[in-house]
Structure formats: C-alpha cells, structure tokens
C-alpha cells in the first residue's frame, strides 16, 4: 500500500476528509433529494429562505470537492504546506520543531494525538490506520462516523 499522496503536510489524512472523499457532496445530495418532497417550502415559510437553501445544497453537490492537499487542494494560504515542502518533509510529524506556531494555527483538536500515534508506530503503520478508519467512514473534522452511511 502506498497512499502517501493522501497525507496532508499538517497530519490530516485527506482520504478521511469529507471534501476529498465525497462525503459532503453525497450528504448534500441526500438532503436535496427529499428537501421538496413534502411541501417543505410552504411548511417552512418564515424559518429560512427555501430557494437560497436549495441553491446552497446544489452548490455543495457540485463544488464541495478537493483533489487532496498534495494535488493542489487544501487552503492556498496554508503556511504549514509551504514550510513542510521547504524543509523537505512529507508531514510535520517528521519535524523536530513540532508543534511550532505554524501547525498550532491550523491544528485540529486531535492533531497531537495523531502525532503521538505517528511517533509510536511509524509512518507506514500510522498511514494504514488512517486509511482503515477512513474506510469505516470516520471523518477527520467531525472526528466520528456520520449517523447514516452516505
């Protein structure tokens, strides 16, 4: 197994990101499929703008995708990505300065846990674990599995 291309410099696993793996698009699509089935436009009047709501769902269905951090995706302003590539690391967890202020600015609540695990078992095993979790539907930002399988 390779899969290294799915590892973001900040230690996120793109394969477990709902924007990379299509989870967000699929959930938006599920939502869109029933949104106007029961006259909700009328029933929800005054609660929110239904047309705007549907337009937003359609935007997410079409656009909430990402090629992965290493393939030009991810936030353009990310300092971590820049720094990692300058230093020649694949991932911040390989850097002895971890955790620096760059990573602190983008870290998820569980970044340190992932770092710890990375140090314990090494890159390859860590990567296998990340991939396995993603296969089970674990979403990295949510830090859990959605209640319905998309």
């Amino acid at each position: 197994m390779t899969g290294h291309e799915l590892v973001a410099p900040c230690g996120d696993y793109c394969g477990g990101c709902g924007q990379y793996n299509g989870l967000i698009c699929k959930t938006a699509k599920q939502m869109r499929e029933f949104a106007d089935l029961y006259g909700f436009e009328m029933r929800s009047e005054g609660e929110f703008d239904f047309q705007q709501f549907v337009a937003a769902l359609e935007w997410f269905i079409e656009n909430a995708t990402c090629p992965g951090c290493q393939q030009g995706g991810g936030p353009a302003w990310c300092e971590v990505k820049k720094c990692c590539s300058e230093k020649g690391f694949r991932i911040c967890f390989e850097c002895e300065e971890f955790p620096c202020s760059n990573i602190e600015s983008v870290a998820d609540p569980d970044t340190r846990d992932r770092y710890k695990r990375f140090r314990e078992v090494g890159f390859e095993r860590w990567l296998e674990e990340q991939a396995q979790k993603a296969t089970e539907g674990y979403e990295i930002h949510l830090q859990k599995v959605l209640s319905l399988k998309p």
């Binding site: 967000i24 909700f40 929110f48 709501f53 936030p75 979403e139 599995v145």
Partner: protein
C-alpha cells in the same frame, strides 16, 4: 421483528406504512440534515468559504434550513404514526373511519378520488395494492416492516443504512 399489533398501528389509513417514512420519529431525513449540519460546522465552512469566493447563495439560510430539518418539533420529524395523530390532515383518514375500513385498500371503492393525489405522487401504490390482495394484511404488513428495518424510505425509494456507532 415488531409484533403485528405494533405494525398495524404503523399503517396509515391511506395504506402508507409510517415505519417506512423517512420522517417517522426522525429515522432518516432529520438524521441527514443533522449529519450535514455537523460536518459543515466541523469543517468550518462558514469561516473560510465566504473568504475564498463570492457565494451566490446565502450560507446563513443553509444553516437555518438544516437546523429546521434537524428539529424534532418541526421540519421532517414526525412524532407519532398517522393513526395516532402524526402526519398531515387528509381526506383519507376521516373517510376510512366513517366507512369503518382499516385502510383504503380494504374499501370497495378503491381507488376513489381521495386517492388521486397519492397515486399522482406514488404510482407504485397500485403495485402495492396488488401485493396487499395477494399477501393479506398480515403478510403485507410484514413486507413493509421488513423493508423499514432495512432502512427504506418510501418517498425517495432508497435505503439508508445506519452506521454501527450512532
């Protein structure tokens, strides 16, 4: 498998099986809305998306809509089966009660004009009626109860599978 009595409580007068409805006690649609809301919030879309592009929709309405659909007292969360007061007002329920039939399929006038709106929306009802005639009330109820257990939602015609860790 739910007992036959419970199954019968889940059958609306119009022969829709409440247990197969995506709104029934929030079994499907409200979950989808909640899932979507949670993943959007966890991914911080509201913070970064408007900064990287000009949106031609309102993010606030998206969030408000998802809140609405997630709620238990509005949106798409039906608290009780149709026969116990859930569901929208319709012509079928009072008519069935008046005629003393459990469900429209048992009525000799089926399908009458009260059923037009249902047929227009769900043409597969005629097929379901044939199933009812073939299997009888009990077998037919069991068929729907099984599909409901498998995560079927009648309105979209799809199956939704729950993740093992809720």
């Amino acid at each position: 498998m739910a007992g036959i009595k419970r199954q019968e409580n889940l059958i609306g007068s119009c022969a829709a099986y409440c247990g197969e409805c995506g709104m029934y006690r929030g079994r499907i649609y409200a979950r989808i809305a909640k899932d979507f809301l949670e993943i959007l919030k966890a991914s911080d879309y509201a913070d970064w998306l408007p900064n990287v592009m000009k949106l031609d929709f309102s993010f606030e309405d998206l969030l408000n809509g998802l809140e609405y659909f997630s709620k238990q007292d509005a949106g798409c969360y039906c608290q009780e089966p149709c026969k116990k007061g859930g569901g929208a007002p319709c012509e079928n329920r009072p008519c069935a009660e008046e005629r003393g039939v459990g469900i429209c399929y048992e009525c000799e006038d089926f399908p009458c004009e009260h059923f037009d709106w249902i047929l227009a929306k769900y043409p597969d009802c005629l097929e379901d009626y044939e199933r009812f005639k073939k299997l009888g009330l009990e077998g037919w109820s069991r068929f729907h109860a099984k599909r409901a257990e498998q995560g079927y939602a009648h309105a979209t015609g799809k199956y939704y599978v729950r993740s093992s860790n809720k």
